[in-house]
């Protein structure tokens, strides 16, 4: 099993990394690049805490082989903040108390951002559906939905 060289553009920065075939994208992000904002929960695509945006779509990075991500553009939670400060979705989550323990927040915020990029004025149903792959065990979802709605208006 030889290492393979992959090229990833993560948060607009290019990386050339030699990865093993059995390394998942979440492990490369966290353990190789130190981008620990991406959380690792169930490891089997059920919880969504490892959500990243890959080539414009949200994915469970625990199910993506790093070798299969070769050439992709990836946005992690670290990529949302700009010189102007936190991303509007991040601010809304704080203002609406949509963050409690924080473990789901990275994935939840990325799923919400991706929804708003594609559909700036989603209905409540569309918001709930877009976030349905991200589990939160603290908030009961209501405050998260309200945070997203506050930007959608």
């Amino acid at each position: 099993m030889a290492a393979k060289l992959v090229q990833l553009t993560i948060n607009d920065k290019e990386y050339d990394i030699a990865v093993q075939a059995n390394e998942t994208l979440v492990d490369v992000l966290r353990y190789r690049l130190g981008l620990t904002g991406t959380k690792k929960g169930c490891g089997q695509g059920d919880c969504g805490s490892c959500t990243v945006i890959m080539d414009g779509n949200t994915v469970n990075s625990c199910l993506v082989l790093a070798v299969q991500a070769n050439g992709s553009r990836i946005t992690t939670i670290e990529g949302l903040e700009s010189e102007e400060g936190l991303h509007p979705v991040q601010k809304a989550f704080i203002e609406h108390g949509a963050i409690q323990c924080g473990f789901c927040s990275s994935g939840m915020i990325l799923s919400a951002k991706n929804l708003l990029d594609k559909n700036p004025k989603p209905t409540e149903g569309e918001i709930r559906s877009a976030l349905s792959g991200n589990l939160c065990r603290c908030t009961g979802y209501q405050k998260i939905v309200e945070a997203v709605q506050s930007i959608a208006k």
């Binding site: 099993m1 393979k4 093993q20 075939a21 059995n22 390394e23 998942t24 490891g43 089997q44 695509g45 059920d46 969504g48 959500t51 779509n57 949200t58 994915v59 469970n60 199910l63 993506v64 082989l65 070798v67 299969q68 070769n70 799923s111 559906s129 877009a130 349905s132 792959g133 991200n134 589990l135």
Partner: protein, 292 residues
């Protein structure tokens, strides 16, 4: 959970992929989106020595709905099918199945070929594809063959695909005039769950309003593979469609199903749900047939 070690190939063409599979056979596994395979490998249920990724073979990602036949590349993602207007217009029940699968995150990676190849009895794509009479093209180095989905599934996780073969296309004929289909899945929640029962129905009428010329009802979760509700289909042929007839067909479908008791539900409950979903999907199919 860590993945076991394996070698990795990423062929650029179907023939290159076939060469690799001809060499490694059962030691290799084909991977596309990986939403099912990687989980099974993490759980050590499968440990292939080699993964052959077909996700970057351009011809396996095509959707062609322009002719009288829908041609789907096996690597088309479930999200693309769910959102496809051109598939939804003529093959609405396929989109309904795609929308019901997994979560938005899973749908962005999971592929239609993967959902068929993983052969789960509760899968969301097989029932409606079978109801439309879909076929799959299986290709190997020395040639290809076409298999009806009715003959494709062999048991949980088992299919007709030989170790040296790759699914290279899914073909679905366009429904004739006065035809319609419906798909309903019953689960505990609408995302990230496994179906308790799912049913797809397809009807062709002689003319507007009936009688019924052709009927196919496919049930999931009630046997080791998806199965046709043969006696329910028989009960429909030649009859004028109405709610009472659909109820009788639902009762007949119960006798065609062989569910087991498990943590998702009792066999008796699943049979009852077969009745309800058969009736409702037939009603949906009839409604669509009246409009087409």
């Amino acid at each position: 959970m860590l993945l076991p070690k394996f070698d990795f190939d990423e062929p650029a063409t179907v023939s290159e992929a076939c060469e690799i599979l001809a060499e490694f056979g059962a030691k290799a596994k084909v991977i596309a989106g990986g939403t099912d395979l990687t989980v099974n490998m993490k759980k050590k249920l499968l440990s292939p020595e080699r993964l052959v990724s077909i996700a970057r073979v351009p011809e396996l990602q095509r959707v062609d709905a322009s002719s009288t036949m829908l041609k789907l590349g096996p690597c088309v993602t479930i999200a693309n099918i769910a959102e496809s207007g051109e598939i939804g217009k003529r093959w609405g029940a396929i989109c309904a199945g795609a929308k019901a699968l997994g979560s938005p995150l899973v749908r962005n990676r999971a592929t239609v070929g993967g959902n068929l190849g993983s052969a789960r009895p509760a899968g969301d794509m097989p029932p409606s594809l079978m109801a439309y009479g879909a076929r799959v093209v299986l290709t190997k180095k020395s040639g290809q063959r076409v298999v009806f989905l009715d003959n494709f599934f062999r048991g949980p996780g088992l299919t007709e695909i030989a170790p040296e073969e790759i699914m290279t296309e899914i073909q679905v004929d366009a429904p004739p005039p006065h035809a319609g289909a419906g798909y309903i899945n019953l689960g505990l929640r609408s995302s990230c769950d496994c179906n308790i029962v799912n049913v797809a129905s397809y009807l062709v009428l002689e003319g507007p309003g009936g009688p019924i010329k052709e009927a196919r009802i496919v049930m999931g979760c009630v046997g080791p593979t998806q199965r046709r509700a043969v006696s329910a289909e028989k009960a429909l042929i030649g009859k004028k469609p109405c709610e009472a007839l659909f109820t009788r067909a639902g009762e007949a479908a119960m006798t065609d199903s062989t569910p087991i008791d498990d943590f998702r539900g009792s066999a008796a409950y699943k049979k009852e749900m077969v009745k309800v979903l058969t009736r409702r999907t037939l009603a949906a199919a009839f409604e669509e047939a009246l409009k087409s």
